[in-house]
Amino acid sequence: MSFRIIVLAKQVPDTRNVGKDAMKADGTVNRGVLPAIFNPEDLHALEQALRIKEQRSDAEIILLTMGPPRAAEIIREALYRGADKGYLITDRKFAGSDTLATSYALSLAIKKLKPFHLVIAGRQAIDGDTAQVGPQVADKLDLPQITYTEEITKATTKEITIRRRLERGVETVSCQLPALITVHSSAASCRPRNAKLLMKFKHARTVSELQEESKDYTEMLTSKPYLQIDEWSVADIDANTEFLGLSGSPTKVKKIENVVFAAKESVVLSSDDKDIEALMKDLIDSHVIG
């Protein structure tokens, strides 16, 4: 039996550098103008899996993501870096899922990929920053969890040893397998794409993508079955729709507001010596400083 590692990843809008055009006049976010990227900490998670694969010839890495059809892009990115296979869970019925509904769907998909040794996810995604999906998937699978992984120092088929990055220090723990771990941004960055793997997998597609491109794919998929990225719908993972999407999400968004500052009467100064000196005098005289 291989040492199977399932890496959970999410395609996210790049919220780190949101320009002015990313906000619509009504204060909502214009997702369309933000580039969709491989969630940064999920790349760190993939790297941890790749490192195990370097150590263990029996390791097999499966990338699992849930999202719209275009999220197949991050599966290809993972294949280019050394993942063996990818699955995309995609269905309109997932729309509006909060972390609880998302973890329900992911846990069902993971159950279909049994037996596995390790589930690795990024600590959190930059569009929500909740860090909840990892622990919630672990709960639904009845797995122990180790969050904030900085480095996997040892992995056998029975046990894993991990250094965790906490707020004020580090902790080394060992844990029985199977387990779920989440990876912190202080862990090693992911390696770049491998040129050979890029050539091998650049035509990897989901069936919906092939239909979209109106390509005849039967021949391609028969001769090179590894180019097929599997898509799973609600039915494929035997999910109960009641626990998905809005109905499966206990948290509801009551209100979204654009950020409006109560504008203060701000004194505008230049960088002239005169202005800066007056400011510093002012602060000293009013005992704010000094």
Partner: protein, 339 residues
């Protein structure tokens, strides 16, 4: 009416500040609802710990004292809290958004199938009417947090599941005694009965905890830098100014992500919330992610070469220009005028 619960984080020999801040907030929420405040402490050698939390207005303190509960691991803590919640059925449950709280709360929420909101910056009660069903709710917990990288503010509610769970970062709420002589009752959790071997698949081999090196939360003056500072080297200027003014250096998330300074200096929703006498924001545009953590500063100076940067709207003084020009001048004129 069911009560409000706060998970109090036990750290070596004391209760974490964030937990005491949450107790302060939760006491006020409990008064609004007319219910009691309950708290839980899980750890080891907890004798006498109750006197540290009762002054914050705790009515019922649940204690679980066992050597297997410290250092923290997920499963035993989750198991005991889930069991407790099934018995006391809290209306609201609050956790610190710390390494422990963010590991524990989602696990509990998943088991109880209830809603959880991370990193709230404000918690208030409010009403709600469901547009579809027409059902009306009173006194729901509005869990308010910046979202989408801090570009919008979302109000989240959990209409139908209990407890309504939320995590809050350190410093967001203020720590304040309710009454020094306040006395609640202690209830002991039957740890021996509830814990079993299956809950310990994780073994802590080694721990290196450091005392906090920088204390930006307690600093009266904070010089904060953003991505606009440009480099690690340029941050040296900020350190120099902070040194002269007797302050500390803070940073925005973008500056931390860029590797200019350590995460422990990060101010904002996913960092620390500060309320200094003077906050100087250098090269920080002013995304909510950041301003959520500093907008209550007594005086704010923004230094930015973009006159339209949102930070200017909350600043008392906006200096338009380059920090490379301005900071050395601030140092120069501070020295000149304090001699």
């Amino acid at each position: 009416m069911n009560n409000i619960f706060v998970y109090c984080e036990f750290d070596e020999d004391h209760i974490a500040d964030v937990s005491l801040e949450l107790l302060t907030k939760a006491r006020k929420l409990a008064n609004e609802l007319g219910c009691k405040l309950e708290a839980g402490i899980l750890g080891h050698n907890l004798k006498g710990i109750e006197k540290h939390v009762f002054p914050y207005g705790v009515d019922v303190l649940h204690l679980a004292d066992d050597k297997r509960l410290y250092p923290y691991t997920t499963l035993p803590h989750a198991h005991l809290i889930i069991d407790l919640f099934e018995k006391i059925k809290p209306e609201v449950a609050l956790f610190g958004a710390t390494s422990v709280g963010r590991d524990l709360a989602p696990r509990i929420a998943s088991k109880l199938k209830c809603g959880l909101t991370a990193d709230c910056t404000s918690l208030v009660f409010g009403d709600h009417k469901d547009n579809k069903s027409g059902k009306e709710y009173t006194n729901l917990l509005y869990q308010i947090r910046p979202a989408f990288g801090g570009n919008i503010i979302a109000t989240i509610i959990n209409p139908d599941t209990r407890p309504q769970m939320a995590t809050v970062r350190e410093g967001v709420m203020k720590k304040e005694f309710h009454s020094e002589s306040y006395k609640g009752t202690v209830k002991h959790i039957d740890v021996k009965e509830l814990l079993h071997d299956d809950l310990f698949p994780v073994r802590v081999v080694e721990r290196h905890m450091e005392k906090r090196k920088v204390n930006i939360k307690g600093s009266p003056v904070i010089i904060s830098g953003g991505y606009g500072v440009g480099s690690k080297e340029n941050f040296d200027m900020l350190f120099e100014l902070a040194d002269i003014l007797g302050g500390e250096v803070g940073a925005s998330r973008a500056a931390v992500d860029a590797g200019f300074v350590d995460h422990e200096r990060q101010v904002g929703q996913t960092g620390i919330t500060v309320r200094p006498k003077l906050y100087i924001a250098c090269g920080i545009s002013g995304a909510v992610q950041h301003t959520a953590g500093m907008s209550e500063s007594a005086k704010i100076i923004a230094i930015n070469n973009d006159p339209k940067a949102p930070i200017n709207q909350i600043a008392d003084y906006s200096i338009i220009g380059n920090i490379e020009d301005i900071i050395p001048k601030m140092i120069k004129y501070y020295k000149k005028n304090t001699k």
